[in-house]
Symmetry: C2
């Protein structure tokens, strides 16, 4: 049994790293990232684990011998002005599990999970599982003009080796991640932690509406081709269709041209993010919205195009692992954020535990968990590994 | 009777001025503005009229003696890449009327009617009628950083005298303007020209919606405070309320923050332009929209504020003048754009004729009228002045 004091002791070494007045900032490939690596090495050494860094910069704490091993872990990077628990809690819990496990267990800290610097979320787990577009990412520049390749090299990881990252997968038998809940779902279930049944499916839709820029006064309503008027009706249609299908719909980004007080909008670009448990429900939503958007465009004399710009069909985690983790009564939850465990699940048995977050606040200094709740989740992982490892 | 050939001959001298590949550009206080002034002086001289420029830079062609006189006119400035007829047609027609009138008639070319350079529409007629906020406008800068005061001085008009512009009103007994229709309303009535019954009333509404920026995935629909979702429903409500009340509603400008693909919009600023024949109908619209916007905000947990940023209750033109202009069967139309005659109408008997524009295109090189139609409108003005001057 793992307790909160154990986790508190392990977290204490991390907390000063990147701590500023607005929260914790530990971007990938920086000196803060190096400092979390030093903490990782200390934790590993205390347990007699050896540290290796794979070709993607993921840090592994490995038991003696050749493996493959079951591993527990998460990530040590953060967003800008993030919280103390997102990622870090899962790596601290992993060392607590490894410390108490009768079976050999590895610990992983995935590189650049947040992707906050180069827009490369789940970088390390994508590289490990062979789904990272290496050529696409290495040339990306951060806000200062530094490329990812330069940043990796500066952090001691050879970018030319990145494509070889999947070789490290051979060490891995299975993977379990503990993470702070980024919603109030676990709290709403009244449990200290929940077991993730699946990561949600997602579609990002890019819409383009082309009307005509006319005078806001002199053009009759019957003649005008108002791209914004149609865009508003399309957003309402998307929200209503999503509500009926139990989906989460976000009209996050919208660009209007010419965006002038007395000119009818000619051109609107609109992005909708749609998420749900079920890829089929999302496909049904996209089909229905496409039809409604075309009808609304025809009615408003506006040309509407709708394109699925990116898609993920979601990830169901290993049923056996989920059932063992839930044996103590932990609720099963659907997770609407992306996680390293979701990538690993495509190649190895994987599971994920979310720790209760009473406010649901995430990616901000105010995110919070009770360490006793996290210890309960870590204990469930310990018990799972006793059975499967 | 005025014919199209007369108007064509007068327009011929204007057409090269400011003509570029995209249309005609004659901004106020520029060398193109000077060139139209030279044309104005030539036209006046040929009719034995003397030219005076008032303190706002409006050009007057005056009969001998002291007045006051009836005047006909419009403006010679244009928007960027505008058409050949907007304004210029009315000044050419005014000289044609003055040439044939048995009574003394003045011609006016109002300064900076379009306001395209300093966002000062109907500048000259506002100054003349004493409703221009002189202190507010003189410091405004154009895209190159030149202030209006500097531009006026460069064009030979002393900005320090601007507040004295209303003195010139003493010369004026009444005013009639001929202008290209900026809609298809006259064409739809099957007439060569229409008589403006009134300029439409207008309200500009500024709305602000404040929600909360949360994660597009992890925040449930019940918890989110999506400012854009509510803004879309408010736009649809405004369009539907406007349609029911016979108003013209334009959601012309919209700013979303943070405007990111996977973040729920926290803050939306939205401007709605509403126009109609009737100030009371517009006030009813604003009241109903305010109520619906508050309800939609409450439902979406978004704070909504709605402010009337500018308002005009419209202008009914002189009934006697309208009836005489319509004597030949010309239809009465409601005009949804602002015009110099609308400003003058507050101080002197005034009327306005709109010439058929088959496409309704305005503020673009493609705007067009048949000069025979314009000549019919000018002839009606000539006959009106024979009766009232």
């Amino acid at each position: 049994m793992i307790d909160g004091a154990d986790l508190a002791a392990r977290m204490a070494g991390l907390e000063p790293i990147g701590l500023g007045p607005d929260g914790t900032t530990r971007l990938a490939w920086t000196s803060e990232d190096d400092a979390t690596g030093a903490w990782f090495a200390d934790q590993a050494q205390a347990l007699g684990l050896r540290v290796e860094r794979d070709a993607a910069g993921n840090r592994w704490a490995l038991p003696p011998g050749d493996g493959p091993w079951w591993a527990v872990g998460s990530h040590l990077d953060s967003v800008r002005a993030g919280g103390r628990f997102d990622g870090a809690l899962g790596v601290a819990a992993a060392f607590a599990v490894a410390a108490r496990s009768a079976k050999p267990v590895a610990v992983i800290s995935f590189a650049d999970e947040e992707g906050a610097r180069f827009n490369t979320p789940t970088f390390g787990s994508r590289a490990l599982t062979g789904v990272l577009d290496v050529a696409d990412v290495l040339g990306r520049a951060d806000a200062d003009g530094t490329t990812l390749a330069e940043a990796m090299r500066g952090a001691g990881v050879d970018p030319d080796g990145l494509a070889d990252a999947p070789a490290a997968l051979e060490r891995l038998r299975g993977f379990v991640e503990l993470h702070i809940d980024q919603s109030t779902d676990v709290d709403a279930a009244g449990a200290p932690f929940g077991v993730v049944g699946a990561l949600a499916a997602r579609r990002r839709l890019a819409l383009e509406l082309r009307g005509r820029a006319d005078h806001a006064g002199t053009t009759s309503m019957e003649e005008r081709r108002d791209a914004m008027a149609v865009a508003a009706r399309v957003i309402v249609a998307a929200l209503d269709l999503g509500l009926a299908a139990g989906l989460r719909i976000t009209p996050g980004r919208l660009l209007v041209a010419p965006n002038a007080l007395t000119t009818i909008p000619e051109h609107v670009r609109l992005w909708l993010d749609a998420r749900g448990a079920d890829a089929a429900a999302l496909d049904g939503f996209v089909a229905a919205l496409t039809e409604q958007a075309q009808a609304l465009g025809a009615e408003g004399r506006v040309e509407v195009t709708l394109r699925v710009e990116s898609r993920s069909d979601g990830t169901a985690f290993d049923r056996t692992l989920r059932e063992r983790l839930s044996a103590g009564g932990a609720p099963e939850v659907l997770c609407f954020a992306g996680h390293d465990a979701g990538l690993v699940a495509a190649r190895r048995p994987a599971a994920m535990v979310l720790v209760r977050n009473p406010t649901g606040i995430s990616h901000a200094a105010a995110e919070t968990v009770a360490l006793e709740d996290a210890a309960a989740g870590a204990t469930a992982i310990l018990e799972l590994l006793a059975a499967v490892a």
